[in-house]
Amino acid sequence: MAKKTYIEAIRETQSAEMQRDPDVFIAGEDVGVMGSAFGQTAGLLKEFGMQRVVDTPISESAIIGLGVGAAAMGLRPILVIDFIDFMAVCMDEVLNQASKLRYMLGGQVKIPLVIRSQIGAGIGAAAQHSQSLEAFFTHMPGMKTVAAATPADVKGLLTAAIRDDNPVLFIEHKTLARFEGEVPENDYVIPFGKADIKRAGSDVTIVSWSAMVHKCLAAAESLSKEGIDAEVIDIRSLIPLDRECILNSVGKTGKLVIVHEAVETSGYGAEIAAMVADQGFDLLDAPIKRVAAPFTPVPFSPVLEKEWVVNEEKIINAVKSLF
């Protein structure tokens, strides 16, 4: 194991997979010479050449369309849409093409493509570069959606995503760019649909993903000083969801708090809450709580943005309201 940053893990995983499989290529804006906005593809152009690291025009529809066509022909594209906000301009290619082609063509094709995109507020990028839109992509049968919270998870999930025979949205978080953690050296694959208990506890289950996992862990530490032992589950993969892990934990604790950075209304937390209410009603010892952003666009002013983003205090308060 070696310590690496989140960005290093992204870069090295892509590199390793491109070395392993010649059908893997990267296409997107700024991925070549520039090495991407946060350096996720730095050095790859030099390593693999223009044929496999393709700087594209600012044409999101054509980028995803290119990936769909190439994937249908057996290649394994990694498509970079740097900010998830931009996915809005290529939604047809994601929703109606990538996600549906296999089904619509009666199973004649596989569409093994990865879309790498980042979510998240916290750097003053305002409402069109800060959203957490993961829930959109959980409403698309045919698409898988995963989010990594640590460098190790980056490696395991991105490797799995590239090797998966389906369209996968791999969600990064911009505030985690410099986050460091131990990363396994050898081949490391995290199967989708396996949640990770990042902290074991017995009194309350906190479910989260992406950067919020770290805020949940910090909140759990504070809560433990007050005698509340919280279990923090990082679902890691939204679709498919590890329902069993969540239900097992709620069975143990009887209490569920779901934390996400996206706005609360119709966020993915609603899906998890509904699932638990449906399949785990008798396990519940308290109402299910969601801690999420208010139903507003992400504000720019650092003061407002700080207020907007879910913080430790909000998580702690939500947990305490159940006791």
Partner: protein, 320 residues
């Protein structure tokens, strides 16, 4: 390029096959045998036939919501097509998609598409893959005048241009984007001029003249095959029917319709074949009769095929 007699008669047969398939589909639709939407290709047969005659099985196409003609011209199995129209388990897509989404990856049909303009970026991706694999094959992206106003048209042409990919963009200008006449939906008359914006050769041909289409396509496809990059060919044609079956066509000028029907590509080519001594009427009648039999057989195949099972809802959402 001089075509042999067989090639000529093959072109004719393809066109007749498309026409007869579409007329049969219309009859089935009106008879309540088919569900969903049906967009007929009648009147545009010369384009699919003329273009696809230049393609081999490893070459690819992407098609549109008005796609039956392309599938047939590319060699699609009319039994499986007809079964798909009927929503049967033996259909090309196991009954999951119907008329608008037929594909046959084994012979390079990457799929018709229900979203106008969606096929173009996919065609670019297919071309990318072909070149990536160092194959000398090409991709043809069919689309209409309506799609030429979509962002995907512009993004795809530009992307194919800058990546110098083997794509031939075939614009079937039937003069209507759904119900909207071309003069209302764009100022230009010749869509081929849009190639200029992307430094792609653009050419306009008479889309109801199968030989003219064939010749233009042969040139563009040959260029792409040799690494010469993409081309744009606009084929001017006319949609005999409405946008879909049931469309009352209040937007069509009867005079204009009459004028275009007089240039119907099939009788026109038949006349040429007879006058140029490639065939006598009896040869052409024989082709038509044989095609009709095949189509009747396809209907029988479709209608005697099993329906999908309820549990098939869940199959093929994900691979693996």
């Amino acid at each position: 390029m001089n075509l042999t007699k067989d090639q000529m008669l093959n072109l004719y047969e393809t066109m007749v096959k498309i026409r007869e398939f579409e007329e049969k589909a219309k009859e089935l639709m009106l008879g309540g045998k088919l569900a969903g939407f049906l967009h007929l290709y009648c009147g545009e047969e010369a384009i699919a036939a003329g273009v696809c005659a230049n393609l081999n099985d490893k070459d690819c196409i992407t098609s549109t919501h008005r796609g039956h003609g392309h599938i047939i011209a590319k060699g699609g199995d009319i039994n499986r097509m007809m079964a798909e129209l009927h929503g049967k388990a033996t259909g090309y897509c196991k009954g999951k998609s119907g008329s608008m989404h037929i594909a046959d990856l084994d012979i390079g049909i990457v799929g018709a598409n229900g979203i106008v303009g969606a096929g173009l970026p996919i065609a670019v991706g297919v071309a990318f893959a072909l070149r990536y694999k160092k194959m000398d094959n090409v991709v043809v992206a069919f689309f209409g005048d309506g799609a030429s106003n979509r962002g995907t048209f512009h993004e795809a042409l530009n992307m194919a241009s800058v990546l110098n990919l083997p794509v031939v963009f075939i614009c079937e200008n039937n003069h209507f984007g759904m119900s909207t006449p071309q003069s209302v939906h764009q100022k230009i008359k010749d869509i081929s001029v849009r190639g200029t914006a992307y430094d792609i050769p653009g050419k306009t041909v008479d889309g109801n003249d199968v030989l003219a289409v064939h010749e233009a396509a042969a040139e563009a496809i040959g260029r792409a095959r040799k690494g010469g990059g993409p081309s744009l060919i606009e084929c001017k044609t006319w949609r005999h029917y409405g946008h879909f079956i049931g469309d009352p066509e209040p937007y069509k000028d009867p005079e204009e319709q009459k004028k275009w029907l007089a240039t119907d590509p099939i009788p026109r080519f038949a006349k040429y074949l007879i006058e140029s001594n490639y065939a006598i009427q009896a040869d052409l009648d024989a082709i038509k009769n044989s095609v009709r039999e095949k189509i009747e057989a396809a209907v029988r195949y479709a209608q005697s095929s099993p329906d999908p099972l309820p549990e098939d809802i869940y199959s093929d959402v994900y691979a693996g």
